[in-house]
Subunit: 241 residues, 2 copies
């Protein structure tokens, strides 16, 4: 059986303007790799209702899981929850359990839970809350869409609570061989090795550092013996180890 | 007239596995912002022919410019150039000018320009070369699609040569006000300010650092006076400066 799949949607003009470097998708990618869930696609979109709705609907039909980050705070530009409700065709309103979670964050919730803050308790109908141990305002899962905050520490904390609930797959293990040669010097032989071992994926990731070219050859397989054998073959072919 | 638009396609399994943090799209975003070209979307896709072709065709129809990074080296997993040719329905072969550029990199090109390296001189019919001052193997532009290397230093060098040839737009200037309050404490007033100044974009980017919450309010406008006025309004409302 093939592994569950996933897509990530990073929502936020600040990524597209270059102001902020997205790191949430890299963290998600690492976590999913350890669970055998194959991340197939990442999309960064702006704080634009039409684009968010279109992207959520395109990806939730295609992949086992869709993760989003960003746009669930209390300010006017936080439109993700409403967009998700529209994308799934469900209503959205302040929900008692989300309000109660949020209230934990305030000494005097009757006063401090302003209308603006209560926007963070608006949850699409039928969703399950995702716990936020840091600032309490919850994320949520609805069908196969998991909606989380953009602030990296909060995204990570929410994800840590969510991941144990997802169906995992066969973990693809990998080994990396660092080769201090130009890709062009190894490409032919590497192509032969790749061709002769179709059940192992071999990626070549060149780098250029301080005037020196080299590449990391990453071998991936769910089969530990095959992984070991092909890695040994590559090490023998291209390194003096 | 509205600004030219752009999309970025990052090609590479190493990003989706979490092995590598993509930084090319952040660099591109910053460069485009300085030119008044609006980056609307970033997609990260795997080294998969169908997905690359589908993504290129979806985005080149929709945006003024499409930039790609990754997959143009000499190894078996470098399939970008061939995918671009297929997406645009043109042929692809080793081209004399690309071969000549590549040859500059070698003392003895007759021997060193192996078949594997010559793959890097395969250019889709009708494309213009993008100079690679670092490792010589060129990128290329075909119609509105600009194909560059994934190694960050080379991506940046190629982009620096390419950008002056593109049509630029009105530069959106921005000012950032750091506010040491929780978003919930400013959301209502900020919403009023945003509502009263529809020609200025106001984004709120919360952060959580060492147990302290705060946010950066970013005001964006092509109009310097309006930008200054709204920034002053925000500073007065939420800071003691």
């Amino acid at each position: 059986m093939s592994n569950p799949t996933a897509a990530m949607i990073v929502i936020g003009d600040e990524i597209l303007s270059g102001r902020t470097q997205d790191t949430n998708s890299n963290h998600l990618a690492q976590q999913l790799t350890m669970l055998g869930i194959d991340l197939k696609e990442i999309r960064v979109v702006s704080d634009d209702e039409r684009q968010i709705i279109h992207t959520v609907n395109a990806l939730r039909m295609k992949y086992t899981n869709v993760f989003t980050s960003g746009g669930i705070g209390p300010t006017h530009d936080d439109i993700t929850a409403d967009c998700i409700a529209k994308a799934l065709g469900v209503s959205i309103d302040v929900r008692a359990d989300a309000r109660a979670a949020l209230a934990e964050n305030y000494k005097n919730p009757e006063v401090e839970l302003t209308d603006a803050r209560l926007r963070m308790a608006r949850i699409p109908d039928g969703a399950t809350l995702i716990d936020n141990p840091i600032s309490k305002a919850p994320g949520f899962s609805i069908e196969n869409v998991h909606v989380m905050a953009g602030v990296p520490a909060i995204f990570r904390a929410m994800l840590a609570g969510l991941l144990p609930n997802l169906v995992s797959g066969t973990i693809i293990q990998s080994k990396t061989v660092n080769v201090k040669l130009k890709e062009g010097d190894i490409a032919k032989m590497l192509g032969v090795i790749a061709n002769e071992n179709p059940d192992v994926a071999i990626g070549s990731y060149p780098y250029y550092d301080d005037g020196v070219f080299g590449c990391n050859l990453v071998v991936r397989s769910a089969d530990a013996v095959m992984l070991e054998n092909v890695t040994a073959l590559i090490r023998k072919a291209f390194t003096s180890d």
